[in-house]
């Protein structure tokens, strides 16, 4: 037995040896044969061809999850607890919303902003005055510090350059004396200039404590992400409201302009920020890349003047800045002494795609704006590559960059009010994290200021993104009939209207808004319809209540109607199919127009038959439900109260709003004659149109609104939309909307 066992062991060991040898024998020659890579040598050295090679043998996973979990059980503390443990560590330069902002102040009353009362003898610069009045005129404003979530100083902090005449002295003491300062908690400080010659630091010269900074030319090093807001540098002439439009009028093809790249500005011979501008001459070719600098600035420029100055100065005077700005595809925006310069907004407005050369500049509103869509972000270190970089940009991309400059300019930059509101909205988005705007809302039309996430954070619920999402506009509408006269007979126009509208194949629901002083009529008095009819009593019976975003509106489309409107089902159907093609506009029947009355120097309103129109009356119009929300939320109370007191002009205001948002005119569809006569002839008993003051009031409204908006947003259209076969010489039986043609 023992011998056998030994024999067997010997045998098997031998077999094993043979086996091992065989396997090894295969490997050895193979690795020598190899695919001709002398990798053995390379493994040890890092020759230019040393490469990393795939390994696919058994490897351990990088972490054992079981072990981590047990660790967590014993040792876990939340980041919050940890932060609390070393509170004081994440303040000042390390402030974040979580560590330096008191969210609880915003919980009770929402996002309200308090502005300190102006102190006597305290001088404010025009720009700061504009900032404060923009806040005071906004829907965020509260005069009660107890309700406020955010505080704004009435001490001018815009210019902190000690050499500047605008510089406010003793700011430190003045701020510390403010009773509500609270170490700067929930305060925001606006600043355009900080530091001074020669080093232009970003220090404000006083302790901002836990306050947030809304600052121009802020560097990425000093910028506290999700806490500070980088704002653009704007001049003292920047308009408070309204603001100029972008200069882009045409999308010319090919998109190239006379110049490829231009710049005209000062050259700092020495000191901070001088390097890039001093080097510009290397890429200047005086043909399509025209980069001009002048040494002539400051008192003693001659002292520092270098060999190129005279030649540069001469060249500089040959070109007109405006001409270059409007005729160049790209505009260079190199840093100045500070990181930001006026060139940035100038280029943006001129639809000259900015080429940024300002390393370390946290671009304006970088938290929400995707600058790669509107600018070329260059690197100062790669200045010499800039011409080839911009030349390599495809013309489709240029076309898109250029349009985006205009979109952003008009959405966030063209007035002090927009800059301030954008700053506030960014902070509001942080405070109400779960209702914040998406990147798309900020970077596509109509922009974040008109896309309120409190309405919905889903893109589908807005009228602006159907095409972007690849979805169809809604297929049903809710009719809202505004009633101000009591029900006396079954033949009243409102009864006919209700039946006609309810019969539309697109009608989902009819809401009767009872704004009449008389009590609600009994349910059975309303005609029977196939769609549900809801009667709601108007809140305080004011006219603005017709634009409230009622929860009872189940559809995205609203058909707004006056009680005396006369419409047939066909007309309703046709108008709705038109609206589906233009879901962001007001689509309706009777139209009105505005004009500039140059004799009286004011806006005029006309209801005469004209060859164009700019408003569609909301007594018979379809639009997206979101505009109800926007109307109710966007305007400050004062404007809505004015409308309610007159019980007039609510439709003008709505048209102003929608045109401001879309930058497009409303759409008028064809209508039967009789309807027009009712409206025009003002025959209805209840009609407020019968009031002779009514028209004069509307004229006044136009001017008051234009004044509040700071601009005239209305736009004219010369066309009306008719059914395809409208009044065509073909059998009426072939026509789908034949009712419209019948008298």
């Amino acid at each position: 037995m023992q011998a056998k066992k030994r024999y067997l062991i010997l045998f098997s060991t031998g077999a094993c040896l043979i086996l091992l040898f065989c396997l090894g024998g295969i490997q050895v020659p193979l690795s020598r044969r190899g695919p001709g890579r002398p990798h053995d040598r390379r493994l040890s050295g890092y020759g230019p061809g040393a490469r990393w090679r795939h390994l696919s043998g058994y490897l351990q996973p990088f972490s054992s999850w079981e072990q981590d979990r047990s660790d967590d059980l014993t040792e876990h503390i939340s980041p919050r607890q940890k932060r609390d443990a070393n509170s004081g560590l994440y303040t000042g330069k390390r402030c974040r919303m979580e560590s330096c902002f008191d969210f609880s102040l915003c919980e009770r009353n929402g996002f309200k902003v308090y502005v300190y009362p102006q102190q006597k003898g305290e001088k404010l610069s025009e720009s700061y005055q504009n900032i404060l009045s923009s806040i005071e005129g906004s829907r965020f404003y509260t005069s009660d510090p107890g309700q406020a979530c955010l505080f704004v100083l009435s001490l001018d902090t815009l210019d902190r350059d000690q050499l500047s005449p605008q510089y406010v002295h003793n700011l430190k003491a003045k701020i510390q004396n403010l009773p509500l300062w609270n170490g700067g908690k929930n305060h925001i400080i606006f600043n355009l200039y900080s530091g001074t010659w020669p080093d232009y630091t970003e220090d404000l010269g006083f302790d901002i404590g836990l306050a947030m900074l809304a600052k121009a030319s802020i560097s990425t090093e000093n910028f506290r992400p999700d806490f500070d807001v980088s704002i653009p540098l704007f001049s003292k002439d920047h308009p408070r409201t309204g603001g100029e439009k972008g200069y882009l009028k045409y999308n010319t093809i090919p998109p190239y302009r006379k110049y490829m790249l231009v710049f005209k500005g000062k050259r700092y011979l020495t000191g901070i920020g001088s390097d890039t501008r001093n080097a510009l001459y290397h890429i200047h070719n005086s043909e399509d890349v025209v980069l001009l600098t002048t040494c002539k600035h400051g008192k003693d420029w001659q002292k520092h003047k270098d060999a190129r100055c005279d030649k540069d100065n001469a060249e500089y005077d040959k070109y007109d800045y405006r001409e270059m700005l409007y005729n160049s595809t790209f505009c260079l925006v190199p840093r100045g002494r500070r990181l930001g310069s006026f060139r940035f907004l100038e280029a943006l407005q001129a639809a000259c795609v900015p080429v940024m050369l300002s390393n370390g500049w946290e671009l304006p509103f970088s938290e929400i704006i995707d600058w790669n869509r509107a600018a070329v972000i260059g690197d100062e270190r790669l200045l010499l590559q800039i011409p080839s970089t911009v030349r390599s940009i495809h013309q489709d991309k240029i076309l898109s960059l250029r349009q985006q400059t205009q979109l952003l300019w008009e959405a966030y930059f063209n007035s002090v009010e927009k800059i301030v509101l954008t700053t506030l909205e960014i902070i509001q988005d942080r405070v109400l994290l779960h209702t914040s705007r998406s990147n798309l809302m900020w970077n596509s039309l109509p922009g974040g200021l008109f896309t309120l996430p409190q309405y919905s954070t889903s893109l589908r619920d807005f009228p602006f993104y159907y095409a972007k999402l690849g979805i169809k506009p809604p297929s049903k509408f809710t009719a809202i009939i505004h009633v101000v006269t009591p029900l006396v007979s079954q033949s009243q126009p409102v009864m006919k209207l209700l039946v006609a509208v309810a019969k539309s194949q697109y009608c989902a629901q009819v809401i009767v808004l009872w704004n009449c002083e008389k009590p609600l009529p009994a349910k059975h008095r309303w005609p029977a319809t196939s769609v549900p009819v809801t009667v709601i009593e108007g809140e305080s019976k004011v006219i603005s209540s017709r634009f409230l975003p009622y929860n009872t509106i189940p559809t995205d489309a609203v058909f707004s109607l006056d009680e005396d409107t006369v419409l047939s089902t066909t007309e309703v159907d046709f108008a709705f199919t038109v609206w589906q093609s233009f879901p962001d506009r007001i689509v309706g029947y009777p139209a009105r127009s505005h004009f500039w009355d140059s004799n009286k120097e004011r806006w005029g309103y006309t209801s005469k038959w004209t060859n164009d129109y700019s408003m569609v009356l909301t007594g018979a119009a379809i639009y997206h439900k979101y505009y109800h929300y926007l109307y109710t939320t966007y305007f400050p109370a004062s404007l809505k109260i004015m409308v309610d007191q007159m019980s007039n002009c609510e439709d003008i205001l709505m048209n102003f709003l929608v045109s401001l948002v879309t930058k497009l005119p409303p759409i008028k569809v064809t209508q039967k004659k009789q309807y027009k006569e009712t409206m025009m002839g003002q025959s209805s008993r209840a009609s407020r149109w019968a009031d002779p003051d009514h028209f004069a009031q509307r004229q006044t409204c136009m001017n008051k609104f234009a004044n509040w908006f700071g601009t005239m947003p209305l736009i004219h259209s010369q066309m009306r939309l008719d059914p395809v076969l409208f009044k065509d010489q073909v059998s009426i039986l072939r026509k789908k909307y034949r009712e419209i043609e019948r008298l």
Partner: protein, 607 residues
Amino acid sequence: MYTSGKYSSRGPALIPRMKTKHRIYYITLFSVVLLGLIATGMFQFWPHSIESTADWTLDKRSVHDAPLIRLPVSSPIPERGDLSCRMHTCFDVYRCGYNPKNRIKVYIYPLQRFVDELGVPISSTGLSREYNDLLSAISDSDFYTDDVTRACLFIPSIDVLNQNSLRIRETAQALAMLPRWDKGMNHLLFNMLPGGPPDYNTALDVPRDRALLAGGGFSTWTYRQGYDVSIPVYSPLSADVDLPERQPGASVVIPEEKLSEMYTILKSIPHRQVEEMQRQARWFWEAYFSSMKAIGLTTLQIINDRIYPYAARTYEQWNNPPVVKWSSVNSPLFLPLIPPRAPGFTAVVLTYDRVESLFRVITEISKVPSLAKLLVVWNNQNKSPPEETLWPKISVPLKVVRTKENKLSNRFFPYDEIETEAVLAIDDDIIMLTSDELQFGYEVWREFPDRLVGYPGRLHLWDHEMGKWKYESEWTNEVSMVLTGAAFYHKYFNYLYTYKMPGDIKNWVDAHMNCEDIAMNFLVANITGKAPIKVTPRKKFKCPECTAIDGLSLDQTHMVERSECINKFASVFGTMPLKVVEHRADPVLYKDDFPEKLKSFPNIGSL
């Protein structure tokens, strides 16, 4: 003997009688040996299979054969990560430079095994499976270069995914020993599990100079904005995703302070949106975080976008799942501009040899106030256009372009001579359009510069019997196309037609000498997602003496061919982009009971 007999009746006879456990041992041993011999034999006599498995065996070996590097105790340690690092301060862009492809080149160090002076490895796991997957994916990608001198970004093969398996000081020394380390400049480290107890720091504790860190679990204090890359913690077992960048489309972010309100907040999110978010989150997961490969390549793409920002992927490219890309449109003319009237339009007349008709068309069009220029595209190579003196005398410039080939697509070429945005494409036999109708068409185009605005309208229909699309030119209540025999459009679409027409549509049109207008309608509708606008009532557009209503179109075979075109184009586009509408545009006071002389466009619809 009795027992032996019993055994032999059960087991093979050649196995000697012995204790059970010995027997099992021997059986196992023997079978292993036998199997080994068979396997060896197979290797020996099947040489081809050896070749194909060679790489695998090689690679397996090289994990252990990676050169061993002994770290001297005094070996330098890099500085702790510099929190002020940004791309413009700590990253050497000159290494990346100008690059026509706008793509960074990434070098991966070959594998080495680092041990301290006592021979103890610096990491308990060595190269982990995940890090190997990650590096493999990168080396298979377009980013990879094996030429260290051309590289812009360097990735050490030292695995720092999990800090807990590392010896921090030695790992740092190992990093510093890398031949191109240079204070960590342009080096990228991947870390998923930073700091261990008790601090649980949110970033890797290994001192790393200026190296970029792609890390999981950054806090906003340790994350260097625009420099580091935030990545998720990968676990093949778990589908939980720490969304790295703020993505409101796919997650709800609730501050810790509001934890108690979480239920209310989550309840307040509409159902529709929850579905959207679920879909979005799923797509993010699949596209960017589902594997080490996805994570690695996403990180490189993010860094690439920072270095070549002008070639960066857009938000939509990052965020839209392909299914959305398919149905959504991003119109190239997205800004709502109503261009001024002043520049006018350029009329482009395509002609072959109908000189008389052409001259009539020219004379008629020249009466339109906003006409800026007339361009005649002479498509006849065998015949010269009439002498200059014979052409009608008109007040705007008239240019004749002679083409090299008689192709329909010549009418849509973006000629340099077209200096206006607006183009009026018009056939040489459309003589019945009045000046008012044309001027009104131009005014409507100004309100819709991104659409085709034309006179004769057409429709596509689904033929249920045949199961395919059909072309319709009868009097219908709907419109989905306008004929480019008389239509205004933006010059951009000429460029698009000539250079960006999908598939072989352009050649098909030229070969069939038909359907160029249908192709143009497809193209515009596809890129804008919008329907064309038909203007003014239907009428005869050609000479009254001609029998046809409008167009070559009455010919039966011609109609069949046009139906074929629609089907062909729909298959090339992969979808039916045409949009059907039921409206047309007329002047505001069209057919209204109002004095004609006060109307801007009184002469509409007349023959």
